[in-house]
């Protein structure tokens, strides 16, 4: 199920502003890859190019290539909607649909995919909520509004919503930054479980988190203020944290930055 992502020579623009330059990297299937780097270096921007969410922003465009196994995501004729069904996304702030119940939130993507039948929906909703470690907490109130959950529960609801449509890849942009340590641990555990099925990319500002959950780590940086962000290096997380090949990486990780 999980797919490999191959990015070559990717430039990302907001209108005339080049936000990210020349990224070439590979994300292995069934692994967790963490993106780290200082604020504004383009981690979110780059992440959003992996499921073509970047172009949702007015003026957003991309040069270069993103391959999902052997499919070029940006080839002409590729439907961004289809890409987003294959590459799911969890946002920094939990964003359950406020007018929908917990159940309907999880079922939202399935209904878009045309899945019908109460029994089938029930099954997938239950499976997804279990997959997101939320089932026990909400099974008695599936028809209550999703917005009534705690922040951590809402984020797990969003993960359930994302995995309900069985994507190949799951992108997470700082999924724990709005959460307390316990909810954070719950989500980190969940990521550990999910990686057996999905290719996972997670953006984080938390070095310990990157070290705990990821197999590979990519360090992004700005060459200088006002310059586009760049990929400095990507390697096994072990190596990045213990013995990185670039000095800037070591400085960043050990907090001796700038």
């Amino acid at each position: 199920m999980a797919k490999r992502i191959d990015v070559s020579d990717l430039n990302v623009y907001y209108g005339a502003f080049k936000a990210v330059e020349g990224v070439t990297m590979t994300v292995e299937p069934r692994s967790v890859t963490a993106f780290i780097g200082p604020s504004g270096c383009g981690k979110s921007t780059f992440l959003r190019t992996l499921n073509r969410m970047h172009e949702v922003i007015p003026g957003g465009r991309v040069e270069g290539k993103v391959m999902l196994d052997d499919q070029d995501l940006y080839a002409s004729g590729v439907d961004p909607v289809a890409v987003r069904r294959t590459v799911g996304m969890v946002f920094q702030r939990p964003n359950p649909f406020p007018t929908m119940s917990i159940y309907d939130n999880v079922a939202a993507g399935l209904k878009l995919n045309g899945l019908k039948g109460k029994k089938k929906l029930d099954d997938v909703v239950e499976k997804s909520l279990k997959g997101a470690n939320l089932w026990n907490e909400v099974k008695d109130r599936l028809n209550k509004p999703g917005a009534g959950l705690s922040g951590g529960q809402q984020q797990r609801l969003c993960i359930a919503r994302a995995i309900a449509v069985e994507p190949q890849v799951l992108l997470m942009d700082e999924p724990c930054s709005a959460l307390d340590p316990i909810s954070t641990l719950a989500i980190e555990d969940l990521i550990g479980e999910l990686k057996s099925k999905y290719t996972i990319v997670i953006v984080t500002h938390n070095m310990q988190q990157a070290a705990r959950v990821s197999d590979r780590t990519a360090f992004f940086n700005l060459a200088a203020t006002g310059k586009p962000g760049q990929l400095v290096e990507v390697d096994d997380t072990q190596r990045i944290f213990n013995n990185p090949s670039v000095k800037a990486t070591e400085d960043y990780i050990s907090g001796r930055f700038g």
Binding site: N51, V56, R84, F91, N95, T99, M100, P145
Partner: protein, 336 residues
């Protein structure tokens, strides 16, 4: 009990007796500014309620003597003889014409208005969206007499052949059957003109709420693989729903009470004409009947009959607003 969706006097005033309404949300303090503002808000609220009640009482007080002398069924008759010792008057025709023309207006204006608002906020490129939005706002401010004149002079003649065609082809349906009313003074045509008149209101207010849909909700839907239309259905429409309902109710209120445009367009029916439920019949609305006969308010009895009709319109708009409020409240748990 505090409302987040809007300032609602009705929500605040009948609070629990042991706690003053001001401290209902626990945010009130004893500072002078808070007390002054709280007092002013409470006073304004009471004033509004008092005014509405007084208007209602005034109408009732003026209407009751005339109603007491009425020898026809007020709610069932379509006669309208208000002078003399044996007044006979009823509001069936007025109620029918008012409600049906307004419903036609809503049936056209709400879907079209929502569609235009969606187009402006979700589909149109930026260079077009801004001028279009401004244009709609401008149209919403055009006085209704202009719509009336335009309907009468320009649109009416163009509409007539369509109406004749429809009557010929669909006359078999009772609601569309042929009537003696010729030209564009029909209920159907009033409905269409009213629709055009309230369309900018529905559009402007809906556009406003749609534009406020949080990006996070829209992106959440898109990231699930929603097409643009599916994104609109999962994120924009549910978010805008209460706003659209309010906009529709405002528009409906305006259509129900619209006076001048209706008065100059509609064909009044002579006293003895045979009644027909057809949408191609003429007829008068509450407001146009009252406006057309303003010079007859010379005796308390005559004025009372018209005021009784006005009272029904007052109650009608009241019910419309209450229903809207209930609909919005019911969905509230899901919209905060």
């Amino acid at each position: 009990m505090a409302t987040v969706t809007g300032v609602s006097v009705a929500d605040e005033v009948p609070g629990p007796p042991e706690r003053s309404p001001l401290s209902a949300d626990g945010a009130g303090t004893r500072r002078l500014g808070d007390r002054l503002f709280g007092g002013a808000a409470q006073g304004a609220g009471i004033l509004v309620i008092a005014l509405v009640t007084l208007v209602g009482l005034f109408l009732l007080w003026q209407a009751v003597p005339a109603l007491a002398r009425n020898e026809a069924g007020f709610l069932t008759s379509r006669e309208w003889t208000v002078s003399g010792d044996h007044p006979r008057f009823g509001i069936v025709e007025l109620l029918w014409t008012t409600v049906v023309s307004s419903l036609i207006a809503m049936a056209i204006a709400v879907p079209v208005g929502v569609a235009v608002a969606l187009f402006i906020t979700q589909y149109a490129p930026r260079w077009l969206a801004k001028p279009a939005a401004n244009l709609v706002d401008l149209l919403a401010a055009v006085p209704s007499i202009i719509y009336g004149l335009w309907g009468l002079r320009t649109f009416g003649p163009k509409y007539e052949p369509v109406q004749t065609f429809l009557q010929d082809k669909l006359g078999a349906f009772p609601l569309l059957s042929k009537t003696s009313v010729s030209g564009s003074g029909t209920v159907m045509f009033i409905g269409i003109v009213l629709a055009i008149m309230v369309l900018p209101i529905v559009t402007a207010l809906s556009r406003e709420v749609f534009a406020q849909t949080p990006v996070a909700h829209k992106e959440g839907a898109l990231a699930l693989g929603a097409t643009r239309w599916e994104m609109i259905r999962t994120a924009v429409l549910p978010f805008g729903r209460p706003g659209v309902i309010s906009a529709s109710m405002l528009a409906l209120g305006r259509a129900l009470g619209e006076t001048i445009a209706v008065t100059i367009i509609v064909s009044t029916l002579a006293d003895q004409t045979v009644w027909s439920w057809s949408l191609f019949n003429g007829g008068e609305t509450f407001a146009s009947r009252i406006a057309n006969n303003a010079q007859e308010f010379d005796s308390p009895q005559k004025a009372g009959a018209f005021i009784a009709a006005g009272l029904v319109l007052f109650i009608l708009t009241f019910i419309v607003n209450a229903v809207a409020r209930i609909v919005i409240e019911r969905r509230k748990a899901f919209s905060e």
